[in-house]
Symmetry: C2
């Protein structure tokens, strides 16, 4: 299928046409370098015609009930009259593979709702690249009129820290476990969470959830105050029984309100924008230099020499530098 | 202090002179782009005169007893007559800062041993860059005659997955906790560990350690077999009481032996080498293109326009692309 021309995609997106949005996201996600310029044109084309959404990042290890939670939170959002886009960042982990969003049956009720748009990202590719592409998709969603964009990340590997770089509020799901209160909490991630939700806090789990909540609150007190002045909080919920999810949504709005008023929202987005330009300029420089050098094919003889042991990677890099000068 | 000329540093390193090695590592770690070519020349210059060391990566969250463990493992290694270099990768985490290797008092006995060389890496810089620089430092250590290189990473953020890309064997430290059996285990990391050591398995902790060992072993069984055919194992140790550390060292040697015989060691190093060349060529392309464009200063007006909101990051990237073409 041929991708429609950029102007028609742009006007389609602005008009809120989901098919145009989907096609534009496909361009953004493309690994083909020749699609890259169109991707930039698409995002640039809608940039000034969009209103920034409330951008939420959600993480949590498999088993924590992430799909159910996102579905319930999503229904809370769309039922309040807002339009919601759910994007998933799923870099395959170093050693295992597998997509977190195989199909829409994962969030059946939400995916049927007219105000919801669910889009899995392809796995693979460089990680920085995946988060960057998700950011571009997010901006396209905003142009299509979505009020809230929820970026889901699989709780493995590096994706979480990447997602902090593109969202306003970072939500971490944890769960109470039998004798393993902090199950699902990665300490490196904990210090970046704005809201921690202990999911599955129901029935026999309730005592454990209360204990975990206290532990987490104590642990959070050890971290220094964040620039945003926002104190991360710990909440309990049972997505399965739809308990506490509405409170989480209220807390997200409270956080957004707080950082909007104290200026952190603007500052954080400004930093994200500058970081993104840095990445985009590196991308541009690299593609230009590679083209001048004769494209990826021109690297093949060097790689062959490496494989044969005729040279080493550092010698090869020096050779490259001398040819480029 | 002026850095000595490349040939004299190279011959110093080959002669096993630690001062030359330290100075060369300083060049490798330099953030100044004008030092980059010398860094490549140094590594290229020693490349064929070195013997690859046994390369071990060690990770574990703060509190797991990493310093004590590395010191005891290190003493085990140097006392067996081998020369050991300990390098530390410490990218500051997204929100907190702090160096894991402030001084040598952290591993007092080891640092005094004539066969040991301990070198902290500066924090900061891009992460991929930090692991890459550590790889270059590692090769220099090998040229200086070190038989074993141990790369330590702080168990926060993304450094672990990076370190897998430069070492032969990845060791993860965990600890038994009160009612938190998997404390210190990040699941995303677990599947990449070759050896998991439950440290602090002593006194009152012993029961908990046994329980944790069983849990971990069960969890490991869920992972598919790795290409290396090596089955990750779980061991107990008490570095403080110097118990079990010798067994860990034996296991590391067994693993090395196994992957050397079945060919995985060579294959893994080949992959690491190709990945490194990819990164080095990107670095070379980028620096060339930036220079052609007029250096970082030439980007300033665009960045200013961004800050003022005259353009957006995607429009700016398109502008850049058009100027480069």
């Amino acid at each position: 299928m041929k991708t429609p021309a950029t102007p028609s995609l742009i006007s389609g997106i602005i008009a809120g046409d989901t098919l145009s949005l989907s096609r534009a996201i496909t361009v953004v996600e493309s690994m083909r370098s020749e699609d890259r310029e169109q991707a930039l044109q698409l995002v640039d084309g809608v940039y000034n015609q969009r209103k920034a959404a409330l951008r939420i990042g959600v993480t949590g290890i498999p088993g924590v009930g992430k799909s159910t939670f996102i579905e319930k939170l999503g229904l809370e959002i769309v039922n309040s009259g807002l339009k919601l886009a759910v994007l998933a960042v799923d870099p395959s982990s170093t050693r295992s593979a597998g997509s977190i969003l195989g199909d829409k049956t994962r969030m059946e009720d939400l995916s049927k709702h007219p105000n919801a748009f669910i889009r899995p990202s392809p796995s693979g590719g460089t990680l920085g690249g995946v988060a960057a592409k998700t950011r571009e998709s997010m901006l396209l969603c905003e142009a299509a009129g979505f009020d809230v964009v929820l970026v889901e990340t699989v709780g493995v590997g590096q994706s979480e820290t990447e997602v902090i770089n593109i969202t306003d509020t970072f939500l971490m799901l944890a769960m109470p476990g039998t004798g393993d209160e902090l199950q699902g909490i990665k300490r490196g991630i904990m210090e970046t969470a704005d809201i921690i939700v202990i999911n599955k806090a129901d029935g026999d789990n309730l005592n454990l959830a209360n204990k975990a909540k206290k532990q987490l609150e104590m642990a959070l007190h050890l971290f220094p105050e964040h620039e945003s002045k926002w104190r991360p909080c710990v909440m309990k919920a049972s997505a399965l029984h739809n308990e506490g999810v509405d409170e989480v949504w209220k807390m997200i709005k409270l956080r957004q309100d707080t950082i909007e008023r104290n200026g952190w929202l603007a500052e954080q987005r400004r930093q994200q924008q500058l970081r993104e330009f840095q990445r985009l300029s590196e991308e541009a420089f690299y593609s230009m230099a590679l083209r001048q050098f004769g494209g990826s094919n021109a690297l093949a003889p060097i790689q062959e020499g490496l494989e044969k042991g005729n040279t080493n990677e550092y010698g090869a890099a020096l050779e490259l530098l001398s040819k480029l000068n």
